[in-house]
C-alpha cells in the first residue's frame, strides 16, 4: 500500500518522486560559519606567545566565542621547524569576566605540517566547545623562526 500524505491541507497524494514526503524542517536554515581571526605570526622560541604575538598569559586570543560549537584553525606554515602548540580555553560570566584565573588546557602537541603546507586543527578535537575565550599559543623548539598565517573559523 503506498504511503500517502495530506498535501496542501486538502489533497491526498501518494509519496512519489514528483511528490516527495515533506520532511523538511520548517524555518530551519544553515547558519554560516564566522571568520574570527586572520593573523600572521612570527613563530619563535618564546614561551607563552599566542597567535597575536602576546605573551600575557591571561590575555585570550579570541573572546566572545560562546556561540560556537567548535573552532577550526586553518594555517599555512612557511617553515617545517619543530613547533609545539597549546590550546587553552575558559568560560566567563555574562559580563565577560573569566570565572577564575588560569585556563583549561584543551590540547597540546606538535604542530603538524611540513614547510609551505596547509593544515587544519579542530578545537576541541572531539566533543563540543562553547567556551567564551580561547588562547592559542605556538612555540618553536628547533630550527629557525618562520611565518605562520592562520585563519580561525567559528562553527555554530
Amino acid at each position: 500500500m503506498p504511503v500517502r500524505f495530506l498535501k496542501n491541507a486538502s489533497e491526498l497524494a501518494d509519496v512519489s518522486w514528483e511528490t516527495p514526503l515533506p520532511v523538511q524542517v520548517t524555518n530551519a536554515k544553515p547558519v554560516p560559519a564566522d571568520t574570527l581571526l586572520v593573523a600572521t605570526t612570527f613563530v619563535t622560541t618564546d614561551a607563552n606567545r599566542d597567535l597575536l604575538g602576546s605573551a600575557a598569559t591571561e590575555l585570550p586570543t579570541l573572546d566572545g566565542c560562546m556561540q560556537y560549537r567548535k573552532l577550526v584553525w586553518f594555517y599555512f606554515r612557511a617553515g617545517a621547524d619543530s613547533t609545539n602548540y597549546r590550546v587553552l580555553a575558559r568560560a566567563t560570566d555574562h559580563n565577560g569576566a573569566p570565572l577564575g584565573a588560569g585556563w583549561q588546557e584543551l590540547a597540546t602537541g606538535t604542530l603538524p605540517g611540513n614547510a609551505n603546507s596547509w593544515n587544519r586543527i579542530e578545537i576541541p578535537s572531539t566533543g563540543d566547545g562553547y567556551y567564551d575565550q580561547y588562547r592559542i599559543e605556538v612555540q618553536r623548539t628547533a630550527g629557525s623562526n618562520y611565518l605562520l598565517t592562520s585563519k580561525i573559523v567559528g562553527v555554530r
Binding site: K29, V31, P32, A33, T35, F74, N119, K151
Partner: protein, 171 residues
C-alpha cells in the same frame, strides 16, 4: 530604459565572470546551467548544491570546471559545510579509470588565500565499469575553497555534481 553610453572596457567588465579572490561588490547573476556557479548563501535546506556539470577528462589534471589553472578553485564560499559529496556518472565504452584528487585552502576575509598551493585532502582512482555511478565523500569540511580535479588516460566525459552538508542547523 535610458540609453547608456558604454566603453568597450566597461562592456568587458560586465561579461567576464568568475574572478579569483575578488571582492566583487556588485555581482552578476550567473545562470545555473552547466556553467560554474558559486553558492554564496544558503538555501533553506541543510544540503546545498555547489556545482553540477560536465567535465571532459583528458591526461591533464583539470578542475571539474575544465580549467588547468592551478590557482582557481572549483567551488568557493564553502566555509559552513561539514562535509562535501561528489557524485557522478562517467561515460566511456571501456572500464573507466578516472583519477581524482581533492584540494582545499582557506582565504582571508578579502578572498586572498592564506598561502601558496593547496592542502591535498585525498587522491584516488575511480574504477567502474562503463556507464556507472560513483560517489566520493570528502569528510574534511569548513575549508573556504576546494579544487576537485580529474584526469583520465583515455578521454571521457564525467557528469557530476558537488553537494555539501552542514551537520547542524538552527531556527
Amino acid at each position: 530604459m535610458s540609453a547608456e553610453r558604454i566603453t568597450r572596457r566597461e562592456m568587458l567588465k560586465r561579461l567576464i565572470v568568475a574572478p579569483i579572490g575578488a571582492a566583487v561588490l556588485t555581482t552578476l547573476e550567473v545562470r545555473q546551467a552547466s556553467a560554474a556557479t558559486m553558492q554564496p548563501y544558503y538555501a533553506p535546506y541543510f544540503v546545498a548544491v555547489l556545482w553540477e556539470g560536465r567535465t571532459r577528462c583528458d591526461s591533464l589534471w583539470r578542475s571539474l570546471k575544465g580549467d588547468v589553472v592551478a590557482i582557481l578553485p572549483t567551488v568557493q564560499g564553502t566555509t559552513p559545510y561539514d562535509r562535501l559529496y561528489w557524485t557522478g556518472y562517467a561515460l566511456g565504452s571501456a572500464p573507466v579509470n578516472v583519477n581524482m584528487r581533492v584540494l582545499a585552502r582557506a582565504v582571508d576575509h578579502n578572498g586572498v588565500p592564506l598561502g601558496n598551493g593547496w592542502r591535498a585532502i585525498g587522491q584516488a582512482t575511480i574504477q567502474t565499469p562503463p556507464q556507472r555511478w560513483f560517489r566520493v565523500e570528502i569528510p574534511e569540511g569548513h575549508w573556504d575553497e576546494y579544487r576537485l580535479e580529474v584526469r583520465s588516460a583515455t578521454p571521457r566525459l564525467v557528469y557530476s555534481r558537488v553537494i555539501a552538508s552542514q551537520g547542524y542547523w538552527k531556527e
